[in-house]
Symmetry: D2
Subunit: 370 residues, 4 copies
């Protein structure tokens, strides 16, 4: 296996399986002097935890872990020293036995078959490295990245945009984190809870959409050819389990638009509303944001807008049939503890990926000028 | 600037501007012993050229270059030596003067503003590094990658799936390359030509969708965390200018599906129809392919299916208003030579990106086992 | 800070400070199916530990830690799963107070000044990231690498070649690991113990040389331009604290030789003595090994021979004068626990770096052919 | 093959064989706004050319190429645009026929055997990718890097320190580039010319040593663990053909020193003689420079001093015996055009590697602070 590192300058490397001793990661390339504490990481992780404060209660797993994070290096006297910051979360509450019955079955919609083809050997306990639990490392790393973004004047907002076919109104994404289900409006979460309940009763699962926005990111970030800002965001988001589509700004709808509609006119900025200030001293704004804050792979100072579409969870309690490793068709009834959707727990994960991505470009941009 | 290299093992690094001396690239990491010639690369490039064989004639630019490619290294006696393969295409037919009038204007929908914010200095001639002409380097590099895929028994097919809101039937993607507009059926290209003509007359531009499929790629490719096969494909595709959305398999539609619908049942394969053979010797297939050939970031042996949504071209001949570097609103009437859509010329580009991506995983996978 | 990852395919990322909670690392890119256990890593670490079995007793620190290693991921049922292998060693026996008195002094021969210039902030406890204790992560990672090399038929031998100006006879490097001081002959260690005692009494420190040989590494490994096998070895070795010179084969003495002396004649191999077998089926050997097993950056099948020269330890108990952060000259008398030389404890560290380097090339080479 | 890219931020990727169409490279990551021209690169290349101004006339090849360099991208209006800078040098004067007679022989001291083992296929013309001619790409890339260093107030000096066993006095390295043979004193070059003549007459070859110093590089550059500044320099230097030993500062002699001798005392600086200024505002200098400007992998502001030891060239005109690909012992009398030493032509190559290395750290350091 490979590819357990994300980033070029600000680099997160992660490890751990859902049913091993624990999970964690190393952030290399964090600048020195950043105020950072275990409490910061814990707060980021707590946003992701199931079963608390009614957050996604109806959709989320019964497995409840404290996910207590420990910082093992790189912080001294409350500040980053520049050295790698390692963090670790011990697993508790493992019930591997739930999985042993499934050891020979290749679950549909899961990575089981792929892993077996890849390594001719697999850790069948809870999906091993493909477990959703792996994402807590991204959230912890993203928590560090967010602290840097804040210092640079940028903020990331994330919300559920759609669940089970029911779309929310994106009008108040800034406050979504304070609402159950990361709902960007005041009413739709109620409908989502209903949909979740019905689906759980039916032994099925649901998909949905998540919207992430980065506000206040400086213009000029992004590399114009392969490493476009939107290309790295697409990579970051599609690298999260269950994501099947990534859209920037106007997204897939752009395919049906005309240039005269899609182009965002550039205008001189009014006071307080500038997206940025040109090297000539002129401040500007855009009349619309179909671009989603990225043009030619480079940030333009408008909010970066990304939408991810997520498939329904593959693990459903309803009986399925699937083949085992020996070619026999078997009944598959998944016990264990399972969510009925990655929504809403995936929201902090995608937010973290956006933060990791943005900070990496922010630091890289420092090398673009003499 | 950074990020002009794509790949981890099979690595393409590109250079060049549309209005400089020429464009080219270096492929490092190509295995030795591959039969490769300038004719192979030329054939790949010719698929991308405008104004020939009626290919996208109505949509494409009047600028006609021979785009004669030269191999400068890495091939001896008709075979790759293992050394870096450099290739070069000289620019001819440059009319930079077309652009000098625009030097101070920040064109809407273009990278002009971003470049200026990034480097406080820009090459305004034809978009510099952001010109669509940059993509010929990807196509040449992809041509080498495709030769390797062929040896591994894989083939890539690409077609226009939708143009100006008119969708084609994907029934015959295998033969799309032989039809005008890379059309996957026998009738829709006629409608597309009409739409293109009307749009050109109106001085506007159109977007569309492109479908790329990789058939015969072995199962087991892809890294389960950040470097998922689909994550790298999303990165590769979103890194092509004008792409605003990338979908794998069921794509954005997955958000509205239930797990019981989305999961692709695994079945023992019938003779000749296997997606792969397990280490236990059992051949398997899938009853459906909502996954688009990738589960948990790892190929499962079914066709890899990717759809890209592309925005309409930003350069339109209709008059627009935009701000210049000094804050003045100016009339902008773009002369020069411009397509009205990246469709269909972008098709070989996306195919090339898929090839670069797939070969990179194919070679990396060799390191996954002792 | 950056650069806490070593390798391209088999990649070790490390973290930790001598006076923080602990140290550890992540190995990404380890092939699946390798038998590996905590006992394997512990054995590698134990070779490096001070104060046991008389190993370098006279030269080594009084700080005695058990250095108990724990594997946190990537191993299931006794084998590597392909997932990242994380390991962790908790610090005990920290006496940071020893260092607080030195907090403002910039110790000569140490990284103190560099860190302060780099980050304007530093972790003064025991050198932080520059502590020799960091090397235990290399040894643990190297322990995994050595298991892979063994499977490939290669073995690494390492010994002290010189200490305090007294050179050993390299005749029996294969058994050096079994002798005190990793001595390659049966007599010189006695002289070294004497030299160490005298130096300790004088409050001073000593340097020395370490020889590392890789036997049985297949020919053909190494990349001919920047990533020559010897270039990566030089990078690996010079990256170990105190190393001031790295030599391959004939080393610095090559500067005074003639081509007719230096060239190693290639001969057909006699039975059982082949360095390798050509693709034509012919086995060969060399009449001499001035090359040290590497020609043009590529292994030739002869033993890879590397010699590192190490400076005396900067921390000496004898009184020194040095400047503090405020420009005052201060008396510096270093207490704490200090070795009088990196010899012999650095031997397993350099051996580990050779192993990490060799395995990385071994895996990369798998991508060199179709 | 792999590893044709050097650098992490400022990255040079090279291509080309001595007997193919030409050689060149791409510099990615060069900041925008740097004044750069073909004349700058040509000047760097001309330092490396044989047979001119009596420079190493007696040691150098009769092959005389103009080595005219062309910049193909990344420069507009006399300045770097931030885009990749590609350059190209066409080969002329190729006499591949000289090599065809040798096609089956595995020359001792050359990469022939290694390449054959690596790829089971080789370009036998002039060593292919292992030709010394490959180094012109490093020199051109280094020429760009040196322009950046100059802007940062740093300068690189390089000289021959020893040739054929005859050492020069390093007293005037600053002016060595202006003397024949890059001699750092006024007398030793005469002795070198004599030694070269005798050796050429005897059909043999000679080795030597090269000294490179970087003056004025800011303190704080370098990463404390694997990517130490000296580790990357060792990698850079050992990656140049013929280098068998690399030493930093006191080098191999450090092995015989005591800590009390080796430690460089830190002192407050006198006016105009500071190595740097601490964040506290205090300027400092060192009483000696055994460290060679690097402590704990981080630059300390003193001159960076590196010495490379180079083996005698493997190609000698005197008759040798060697095995061919089929196991036959053959007489080998090398015709063609050959130098009798890499000295002095390798001097600009090592200087270029130092420049590439230093600029890469200079840019990376920009990311070390918030």
């Amino acid at each position: 296996m490979n590819g357990n590192t994300f980033g070029r300058i600000f680099r997160l490397t992660t490890f751990g399986e859902s049913h091993g001793p624990g999970l964690g990661g190393i952030v290399d390339g964090c600048p020195a002097g950043l105020e950072i504490s275990e409490a910061d990481l814990q707060q980021a992780l707590d946003e992701r935890r199931p079963g608390q404060d009614g957050r996604g209660g109806a959709a989320s797993t019964a497995r409840s872990e404290k996910d207590q994070v420990r910082i093992l290096s790189g912080v001294f006297a409350g500040k980053s020293t520049g050295a790698p910051i390692a963090f670790y979360v011990e697993n508790e509450n493992q019930r591997s036995a739930d999985y042993e019955a499934l050891a020979a079955i290749l679950r549909p919609g899961h990575a089981d078959l792929g892993f077996f083809m890849k390594h001719a050997f697999r850790d069948y306990r809870g999906g091993g490295r493909s477990s959703g639990r792996e994402t807590l490392c991204r959230v912890a790393g993203g928590g560090i990245a967010e602290k840097i973004l804040e210092k640079a004047g940028a903020r990331i907002f994330a919300c559920v945009a759609e669940f089970g076919g029911i779309a929310a109104n994106l009008e108040d994404i800034e406050n979504a984190a304070a609402r159950p289900w990361f709902c960007p409006d005041k009413v739709t979460d109620g409908l989502w809870v209903e949909a979740a309940k019905k689906t759980r009763a039916a032994g099925d699962s649901l998909g949905g959409k998540v919207r992430v926005e980065i506000h206040g990111l400086p213009a000029g970030l992004g590399e114009p050819v392969f490493d476009k800002l939107d290309a790295r965001l697409a990579y970051a988001f599609m690298g999260v389990g269950a994501v099947k589509g990534v859209e920037i700004g106007s997204g897939c709808a752009a395919a049906d638009m005309k240039g005269s509609e899609h182009n965002d006119p550039i205008l001189p900025a009014e006071a307080g509303l500038a997206c940025g200030t040109l090297p000539t001293g002129i401040s500007y704004r855009f009349a619309s944001n179909n671009a989603g804050g990225v043009l030619g792979g480079i940030s333009n100072g408008a909010p970066i807008c990304v939408t991810a579409s997520l498939k329904p969870l593959a693990s459903i309690s309803r009986k399925q049939r699937s083949m085992d490793m020996y070619g026999e068709m078997r009944d598959l009834q998944i016990g264990g503890r399972h969510d009925i959707s990655v929504i809403p727990r995936v929201v902090p994960v995608l937010k973290a990926m956006a933060a990791l991505c943005a900070v990496d470009f922010l630091l890289l941009q420092k090398t673009a000028l003499l």
